[in-house]
Amino acid sequence: MVRIAHNQGVRMSHPLRSAAAITGLGMTPMGRVFGKSATEFAADAIRLALADAGLNKAEVDGLLINAGVSQGISLGLQNYVGLDNLRLLNHMNAAGSTAAQMVQYATLAIAAGMAKHVVCVFADAPLTQGSSAGAAYGMRANAPARPQGMVGLYTAAGYFGANTPYALAARRHMALYGTTQDHLGAIAVAQRRWAVMNPVAQMRQPMTMVDYHASRWIIEPLHLLDCCLVSNGAVAVVVSPADVARDMPQPPVYIWGMGQGHPGDSNRAGSDWETETGARFAARTAFAMAGIGPADVDVCELYDCYTYTVLVTLEDYGFCPKGEGGPFVADGRLGPGGSLPTNTGGGELSAYYMWGMTPLSEAIIQARGAGGARQVAKHDVILCTGNGGNLSYHACLILSPHAS
């Protein structure tokens, strides 16, 4: 039983703290896996998650769906899988923050008595055989010859893809705080050290800082090895009431806290979107609900579309003061044997890119103690985050194998 100083004494704990738990996890083969549509991947992940949770299909009464970039799944997934007993159904989209959000809304619905066993699923199949990962994410931008209005100024400046805003954000951080290329590289190297130990990671060959610096530029200051992978596949999780979870086959992963933060327009006058994200608001809400602070977190599973996303997220959750993320990560703290194990499966950079399901799936594996060679010994409190847009959308979960 974990002991948390903040939560002792007379203070009442939050009514939704440990109201629900994650009871099932299903992961299909992920990466350059061909021959299935996103819908077929999703059905596979749901089947695996239900088997993991020891549930039969008729017991599922909630389904939350998140389609990836290929938009290959929709509400029709209900009928494809044959779920005819639903009391909760939605197709959700808040970009990379959706996975954490699905678990949040599942928790709320369970607490409200609206549903009992809620399946949350993400599936994507942007890769086709023989095409590059870049092509899958619109690298060969099909911009119209005359894009409409002010948005056309972005296209006219050659501002393309997600790579551009994240490079701009990283550059601003570097200029304000002295963050270096080595600091970003330290994140990529630490995560690869974890991926080497993850049998389902796409990138398992060891990588050094020399390799990092030698990887080609995408848009300075981002190298190829600062950017996430692109993957086909699906992940599904089951959320159940905590009192029911105790009698299910897997060790329950309790939801202690949850929060969101969405700062909006990234280019508005006065915005510091590059260096201060919605994670600050999500952190406040989630830590208050869980009754803990950042010092109580044992393991971080942070959305890592880019190395920089990890750095700014660590700052915004208060693991270090604003601007000190570079020196904070430089000593290998995030890697195996470090004091803050982070993205312990290799993350989106080195393992697989299932949007917010990447950090969520690894958080569940670590909370269950099922991480094999990469299992972190102390895993009582796990922070799991999701981020989307241009650092625009953020949601998080604080998870634990302990109910209290």
Binding site: G149, M150, L153, Y154, A156, G158, L222
Partner: protein
């Protein structure tokens, strides 16, 4: 490849809210939208003020001066119209009045660009629009 490089860069098509901005650009003037209710100054991308939701907006001239807020140097091929420019800078200029413009710096090599450096507008003329590029002030 040679056929690809003949595809031109995408040039903005003025729309309702932005037409006066692009019209003024053809005469070398940088216009911004100001909310007469709350005073917020914005790029003209909507028909209301995103601070107070007033629809009472007026056009005000900008100085054309600003500073580099942030920038990147693009190496990735996305659109064939940019292939000959790679590596090119993508820059966000923060105008003295507050709004921020996506643009490219001209008259400077990429390795000389610094966050915070003062810049001034330098219009790039096309057939029916002019684009606000910037050069070191």
């Amino acid at each position: 490849m040679s056929q690809e490089t003949r595809i031109p860069k995408p040039i903005p098509q003025p729309d309702g809210p932005s037409q006066p901005f692009f019209d003024a650009g053809l005469t070398g003037k940088l216009l911004l939208m100001k909310c007469t209710a709350c005073g917020a100054v914005r790029l003209p991308s909507r028909r209301h003020c995103d601070r107070c939701l007033s629809t009472d907006l007026e056009w005000v001239p900008a100085s054309g001066r600003g500073a580099v807020r942030t920038f990147g140097v693009m190496h990735q091929r996305y659109h064939p119209g940019f292939n000959d420019d790679i590596p090119y800078n993508v820059t966000i200029v923060e105008l003295e009045e507050g709004p921020r413009l996506p643009t490219n710096l001209v008259g400077i090599s990429n390795d000389q660009i610094r966050v915070g450096m003062p810049v001034v507008v330098d219009w790039e003329r096309h057939d029916d629009v002019a684009l606000p590029k910037f050069r070191p002030a």
